[in-house]
Amino acid sequence: MSKTLMKGNEALALAAIKGGCTHFFGYPITPQNEIPEFLAREFPKAGGVFLQAESELAAINMVYGAAAAGGRAMTSSSSPGIALMQEGMSSLAAAELPCVIVNAQRGGPGLGSIQPSQADYYQMTRGGGNGDYRILSLAPATVQEGAEMMMMAFDLAEIYRTPVFIVSDGMLGQMMEPVEFHDRPLRELPEKDWTVVGHGGVRPPNTVKTLALDPTVLEQRNLTLQAKYARIATLEARHESYRTEGAEIILSAYGSTARIVKNAIDLLAEEGIAVGLIRPQTLWPFPVAAFAELPDSCRMILTVEMSCGQMVDDVRLAVNGRLPVAFYGRSGGIIPVPEEIAMKVKTLLGRA
């Protein structure tokens, strides 16, 4: 198949169709509008259902209903909209309903800006919703990777019966890159015998619920969820390593920031300074193992984010005091340039 030039948001939308999505519910918000606009146009032709909801609260609850009824449902939004969806996320996780949620992050807090940001890391990995739950979060760095992750996301959601985040941002969503679509690898999916579809008079009624007033029942349910999360953590944590061999400092960055960090690493290499990158491709589960196998040459970790420092917490937990962990970030919608990251590295090495 040949490559086509596509906007990140549109590639995600097309990948959702190719990934077997059946229902989309969403509410307009910049910078993700190309996703619902593409789907409003293209989804019905492919037999899918597109519906604009009255709010993000409604959208996530429509996703909940559609998933409970056996649909492969998704929504997409951006930071303030994701904030409104947190009640629904907690319910989706508790009811173990498969679905996909795109967050094209923008500057915050509050209404913030419509420029790219990564300040929703806590929101997506720590949960803004109530209770002990986790959401599998896939973090692409290119339009191509976004499309591939999106095509996988619906199957992952069904295999683990969990909501899945596609972690994007205003930059990844708006940029145009060549993208190629391959057939989605066929995976064996569990039978959905828990859906509400009408009992047909042939079985006892199914109930999709999260209320568990008996504490022993709820604790047991939580332990079952935790066991599932442990399985996901073992099997699904992913990362990319870039020029880590012989690196004096290893940088850690995800998504669009990781691309800029790669440019900074190449700049530094030209000056004979060896630095590398560990790029988490899943934010939860965090690729802890990647930080256990650091080369002997590495003296320090530098986390770079478009935030005031959020993922750096997970990096510190993964490094567990073995090395110093520094942080460099820009926020409010400002995109760091490779030169300023390179300068930060040189300062840390005392070679500025």
Binding site: T22, H23, F25, V49, L51, A53, E54, S55, L57, A58, A59, N61, M62, V63, Y64, G65, A66, A67, A68, A69, G70, G71, A73, E87, G88, S91, A95, T195, V196, V197, G198, H199, G200, G201, P205, N206, T207, V208, K209, T210, L211
Partner: protein, 247 residues
């Protein structure tokens, strides 16, 4: 021995947790009977809402999904868009539907979703212990308006059926009561009309059922029925507010 009256197949064998004299149980039975009589029981999908009726899935013999507080109409929309030909309903209280869920109920009607909402209005928050609802009557004493609802402070009660009836996508809207046998028969007819309207594809249907909450009201079951008749019906007049035009 001849069986004169049997438990509806639309109900499970479980004993309900409702207080003595609470009319939620009557409304459950009416929904169950209508689903059985119209041949809809096997295909029906219900959306339970936060409130005393959240456990309705333990009593109604249909597949059901529990919804977060106020969101049942959005959940039902998701269900219906996956199964456009199956009967889908929500069962909601007045705190759920008329307070926290006002946006969802207006927009489910606005889109003309082919869904039936059973709206149980007992003029109070039952489950949380008798706080003020948007439907609480002027002067009615509730735990968060201990001297009675003061309209100058808290406004006048919301008439939901009237409000929804003027949304273009609403096809059938009726307010009924269950305070005596004649009213119960009318309520059942209304619930039937709601489901028939849905299955005929006319649009959204809402049946507001005036209901008692003896515990929250601090009255006996009998006094509650009388209080409903004397106080609620004058403010919330019964009747059909919207119906599809006859062909």
């Amino acid at each position: 021995m001849t069986v004169v009256h049997a438990r509806s197949k639309g109900l499970t064998d479980r004993e309900t947790h409702y207080c003595p004299g609470c009319t939620h149980g009557i409304v459950h039975r009416l929904v169950a009977e209508v689903l059985v009589e119209e041949g809809l029981l096997n295909e029906a999908i219900g959306c339970a809402a936060v409130g005393c009726s959240i456990l309705s899935y333990n009593y109604l013999n249909v597949d059901m999904v529990e919804s977060a507080h106020g969101r049942a109409p959005a959940v039902a929309t998701g269900v219906k868009r996956v199964h456009p030909n199956k009967p889908v309903f929500t069962y909601q209280g007045d705190g759920d539907l008329a307070s926290i869920g006002t946006a969802e109920i207006v927009h489910v009607a606005h889109r003309g979703e082919k869904i039936t909402t059973i709206f149980v209005n007992n003029a109070i928050y039952g489950m949380t212990g008798g706080q003020m609802a948007p439907t609480t009557l002027p002067g009615q004493k509730v735990t968060t308006a201990p001297d009675g609802r003061d309209p100058a402070h808290a406004g006048l009660p919301l008439r939901v059926a009237e409000m929804i009836a003027q949304v273009p996508g609403a096809a059938y809207v009726e307010r009924v009561s269950v305070h005596n046998p004649a009213a119960v028969r009318k309520a059942k007819k209304a619930i039937r009309n709601g489901f028939l309207c849905q299955m005929a594809g006319h649009g959204f249907s809402l049946i507001e059922v005036l209901s008692t909450c003896p515990t929250g009201w601090g009255l006996s079951p009998i006094e509650s029925l009388k209080w409903l008749e004397d106080n609620m019906i004058p403010y919330y007049p019964l009747g059909v507010l919207r119906a599809p035009e006859e062909a």
